[in-house]
């Protein structure tokens, strides 16, 4: 409608141009490293002995175990995962306050896979101008073939991505065969399908729309930035007035920017860095590479676009030598301190993590039982978790009340003997334990009673504080 702007913005297609330079190589390096890790890690083997999986990293949801090399995480230890997520978050805050959006530009899966998908696109359809021409042109056999091939390769990469994801949750080698033979579980196919679809859609089609519209991080990362954060900066004071420049013309009275628009053309989000900091900028530094190419050609100093802090820019603009960069600031100290505290708590929790646990739940109904000779008995459900990969023989005992006798009614192999128990490897033994106290010694009301497990050498392995309840007097 005339004179009206639409409330909905049509997608402006971004055709990023190929570029080479320092930051491009850093990005390739990060891509190879990160994708390599992602695809290879599930295939690492780790010998844990018979009966245990030999996959170095396996998050076995069915078996309720996280296998991470020699660490076996049980469901109740999921707080270690929480701890890692908190570390990740504070690490991200710290990195952002120091170096801007390095995560977005170099390490975010959306960036890495989009980079890979753009590489495929460029190899098949050619660089920016060829792609634009191809898209504008009429449908032809060649165009259909190129487009078809591109989507085929994209889908293959996407499927491999979804496939690699499920390998973190199931045994990789056997599942790979099962997938192709059609024998894998429905969940495996569903998740491969799901992640294939998301990878193909997000890295192939949505790309910068994810960063601009879907991701919450760009919306609040500005809160971590300040004038001391190193970010991708166009040096306006040096670049303006911009304008075309012919070889031999004087550089007096004008800026260094020759308005070649390379920085815009290489930008994966299609923005103009010369407009200053903006939400869409993912801080990947490709415009720095592009601008340096041009500056070298026109024989001007490089780094018209550079990594710099806003504080330094202000000083440079005033013609002063920039003062030293201040990486140590209140916010970076705070983030570092939080990182250190969370890491210390996690290390402590891990160091004191026991590979055997005893827990006892006292029967509430009946609270206690009087036997025919007047003795008082309490019933407990005792669970003993053996987190080792070998059977363990322990003796269960109680402490805290004299003359407390202990009996176990469901230890199949130990019905007659003393309360020696064999807890199977990587399993929880559940026992019904009866504690009986002679009538004369029975406590009035509740008294503390602790259950403990000792090994054959008599060393205490674990303990649980519970109570014994006798009739009130």
């Amino acid at each position: 409608m005339d004179g009206e702007t639409s409330l909905y913005a049509p997608r402006v297609r971004v055709y990023p141009r190929a570029v080479s330079g320092t930051w491009r190589w850093v990005k390739w390096g990060a891509l190879v490293l990160l994708l390599g890790m992602y695809y290879v890690v599930p295939w690492l083997r780790w010998n844990r002995g018979p009966g245990a999986p030999d996959q170095a990293i396996l998050l076995d949801l069915d078996g309720r175990r996280g296998w991470i090399f020699d660490i076996v995480l049980w469901p109740q230890e999921v707080y270690f995962v929480t701890g890692f997520l908190i570390l990740g978050a504070f690490g991200l805050f710290l990195a952002t306050s120091l170096f801007g959006r390095v995560w977005c530009g170099f390490a975010c899966p959306q960036t890495v896979w989009t980079d890979l998908f753009m590489l495929v696109e460029r190899l098949i359809e050619g660089d920016r101008n060829e792609r634009m021409r191809l898209d504008r042109g009429p449908l032809s056999v060649a165009k259909a073939a190129k487009k078809g091939l591109k989507h085929l390769v994209w889908l293959a990469i996407a499927a491999a991505t979804g496939g690699a994801w499920v390998f973190y949750y199931v045994d990789a080698p056997s599942t790979l065969f099962k997938i192709f033979r059609g024998e894998a579980s429905t969940e495996v196919y569903v998740f491969i399908g799901l992640l294939t679809a998301t990878t193909y859609t997000l890295a192939g089609w949505a790309r910068e729309q994810v960063c601009t519209y879907m991701c919450p991080w760009p919306r609040f990362q500005a809160a971590m930035l300040d004038e001391q954060s190193v970010i991708v900066t166009y040096q306006k004071w040096r670049g303006e007035q911009r304008g075309k420049h012919k070889a031999g013309d004087s550089w007096d009275g004008r800026g260094d920017c020759v308005d070649c628009r390379l920085c815009v053309n290489v930008c994966p989000t299609g923005i103009d860095i010369r407009d200053g900091q903006q939400l869409e900028c993912i801080g990947c530094g490709l415009c720095i590479d592009a601008c340096n190419e041009t500056m070298a050609k026109v024989d001007r100093p490089v780094d018209l676009i550079r990594w710099d802090t806003l504080a330094h820019q202000e000083e440079r603009e005033r013609g002063r030598a920039p003062t030293a960069w201040r990486p140590i600031r209140a916010r970076t100290l705070l983030y570092s301190a939080l990182l250190a505290v969370v890491a210390a708590v996690m290390i402590a929790a891990f160091a004191w993590r026991s590979d055997i646990d005893v827990s006892a739940q006292r029967d509430r109904s009946p609270n206690f039982v009087r036997l025919s000779n007047g003795d008082v008995r309490n019933g407990y459900t005792v669970k003993i978790s053996n987190k080792r990969q070998e059977d363990r023989r322990i003796r269960l005992g109680v402490r805290g009340l004299p003359d407390a006798a202990i009996a176990i009614t469901n230890a199949a192999d130990e019905l007659a003997g003393p309360p020696h128990l064999t807890i199977r490897a990587d399993a929880v033994g559940t026992y019904r334990v009866l504690v009986t106290i002679p009538a004369a010694k029975a406590p009035a009301g509740s008294m503390p009673l602790s259950f403990f497990a000792v090994d054959d050498a008599g060393r205490e392995l674990a303990r649980h504080e519970s109570a014994f309840v006798g009739p009130g007097r």
């Binding site: 004179g3 009206e4 702007t5 639409s6 409330l7 909905y8 913005a9 049509p10 997608r11 949505a206 729309q209 519209y213 029967d363 509430r364 109904s365 009946p366 039982v369 009087r370 036997l371 025919s372 000779n373 007047g374 008995r377 019933g379 009614t409 469901n410 199949a412 192999d413 019905l415 559940t430 019904r432 009866l434």
Partner: protein, 286 residues
């Protein structure tokens, strides 16, 4: 509808054309594909509403073309679960109690199954965890009317006590006072003797003689009881109907004949076996 779109001087952006008391809104357009995802959600909702139960009527609701209900889903899930359990249940049906107890996996399955069945069928009288109450024996102590060996427990569960089943455990305590087998004074004398058996109060020669004549046939001369007859031990500290003088007097005067259903009429053998194992493991099993 937008009326007056202006260009904002500071941002260079258009306004939406809406104005509220002088407050204008910058136009920050939503990407078009975003709108299409809203449309896709609406389409999904319509398709879902056609396929699945969704709209309520005044009574009932639309059933949906797929005929899905939570209840059929549940029945199906339970059927699949039963299939998974069959392996264990079948072994429990055929194995002896001793063999089940020797196999930790099977034993633990039986205890879990027994607990579940106990909570459905037994807690109404015997209480949660077998705690019992007055008139309903506690199952966690070591005192048993009809025997605490696992086979005895199993038999009690199968056929019950004093019911119409042919195999039911059947005995009857006479109503000594009410049926005038004894005078009130005689009942009182026996009461004193019974209490003296567990060290409460003093017996009299008359009470002792009456006990030997009238009670010892079932409860034995020592008062230790007889599990064949379901006759309780009178010498211990456990009293199903109360151990004070008045309760014991009433027990002798009016008699007590508790009853229990024959569960073989309602439960399958595997469930009853699991129940027997569970009750036996509660604490009092012999």
């Amino acid at each position: 509808m937008p009326t007056k779109i202006e260009k904002d001087a500071i941002t260079g952006r258009d306004t939406t054309g809406h104005e509220w008391d002088g407050v204008k809104e910058l136009n920050t357009p939503l990407p078009t594909w975003w709108v299409y995802t809203f449309y896709a959600c609406i389409v999904f909702a319509v398709v879902y509403a056609v396929l699945y139960p969704s709209w309520p009527w005044l009574s009932g609701h639309t059933t949906g073309l797929l005929g899905y209900t939570n209840r059929t889903q549940l029945t199906q899930d339970l059927g699949e679960q039963a299939k998974g359990r069959f392996k264990f249940v079948d072994r429990i049906r055929t194995a002896s109690f001793e063999d089940i107890r020797k196999d930790p996996e099977l034993f633990n399955f039986a205890l879990a199954g027994g607990r579940s069945a106990f909570q459905t069928s037994c807690v109404q009288c015997h209480g949660a965890g077998g705690a019992g109450s007055k008139g309903f024996p506690t199952l966690v102590d070591d005192d048993w009317l009809w025997g605490g060996k696992i086979d005895q427990i199993y038999r009690t569960i199968q056929f019950g006590i004093r019911n119409t089943n042919d195999n039911s455990r059947q005995t009857m305590m006479p109503r000594f006072g009410a049926d005038q087998l004894m005078t009130a004074a005689q009942v009182a004398a026996v009461t004193d003797h019974v209490l003296s058996l567990s060290g409460k109060g003093k017996s009299t020669p008359e009470g002792a003689k009456l006990f030997q004549d009238q009670c010892a046939a079932c409860h034995q001369a020592t008062g230790k009881g007889n599990q064949e007859m379901g006759a309780p031990d009178l010498t211990d500290g456990i009293w199903l109907y109360g151990g004070d003088r008045d309760s014991v007097y009433r027990t002798i005067f009016y008699a007590r004949n508790g009853s229990m259903p024959a569960w073989s009429e309602r439960l399958d053998p595997a469930t009853m076996k699991m129940l027997a194992l569970y009750v036996h493991a509660l604490g009092g099993g012999k």
